[in-house]
């Protein structure tokens, strides 16, 4: 079956440092990967959509300078939160879209705690 693994599951980082998270698709080809953030007590905000061999599309309020994304092949994507501060706390979800374009599979998320 189709699975999406995210790691690390949880990271505690000091304010002003950076954190890289990874997303691995298993059992299918992830032609696109959507990265989301769920801040404490809030809903899931779309950060960006990354499609292999295409430009990464960032949503308003999110930038490549802050959240650089790499999507080198059909099974792997990574995103870094640069210079993390308190407002960057939350659960970061990776959603991988299969080649049919119809199904979005989510990982369990990477939780970022900033101290």
């Amino acid at each position: 079956g189709a699975l999406v693994y995210q790691y690390p599951r949880r990271t505690i980082c000091k304010s002003g440092t950076s954190m890289r998270m990874e997303c691995q698709a298993v059992g299918f080809q992830a032609t696109s990967v959507a990265w989301y953030r769920q801040s404490p007590q809030k809903t899931f905000e779309l950060i960006a959509l990354s499609t292999v061999n295409s430009a990464i599309k960032y949503e308003q309020n999110f930038t490549q300078e802050k959240f650089p994304i790499s999507h080198p092949n059909l099974s792997f994507s990574s995103m870094t939160v640069l210079n993390a501060y308190l407002e960057d706390r939350g659960l970061y979800l990776c959603g991988a879209i299969d080649s049919s374009g119809n199904t979005l599979y989510f990982g369990e998320g990477s939780r970022l705690i900033v101290v």
Binding site: S32, A34, Y36, K42, T43, F44, E45, L46, L49, L91, L93, G95, I97, G101, N102, T103, L104, F106, G107, E108, G109
Partner: protein, 113 residues
């Protein structure tokens, strides 16, 4: 622009009672619609989805939802809730040919014994 509204931030029901969680959407065409559940300290699990056809879709664990184009709604229902259904439920929308999900604000469901 597309959007999803879940008007009830919190819903409390007794175990064994019926449930409806409301979801309204805004989109000029016919969207794809989804319900996800998030248990404490976990990610998202898909309950059900609607693409087209029969407006009533069945999901896991006895959940169903009904799409209404005239009301721009996709309410989630369950005939008899269990305490283990306590969680946060998210309604989401995607546009055909652009399968990125846009989420509502979520409804926290508490099932009392």
């Amino acid at each position: 622009a597309q959007s999803v509204t879940q008007p009830d931030a919190r819903v409390t029901v007794s175990e064994g009672a019926s449930l409806q969680l409301r979801c309204k959407y805004s989109y000029s065409g016919t969207p794809y619609l989804f319900w996800y559940v998030q248990y404490p300290r976990q990610g998202l699990q898909l309950l059900l989805k609607y693409y087209s056809g029969d407006p009533v879709v069945q999901g896991v664990n006895g959940f169903e939802a009904e799409f209404s184009k005239s009301n721009s709604s996709f309410h989630l229902r369950k005939a008899s809730v269990h305490w283990s259904d306590s969680a946060v439920y998210f309604c989401a929308l995607s546009m055909p040919n652009y399968n990125v999900l846009y989420f509502g604000s979520g409804t926290k469901l508490t099932v009392e014994p």
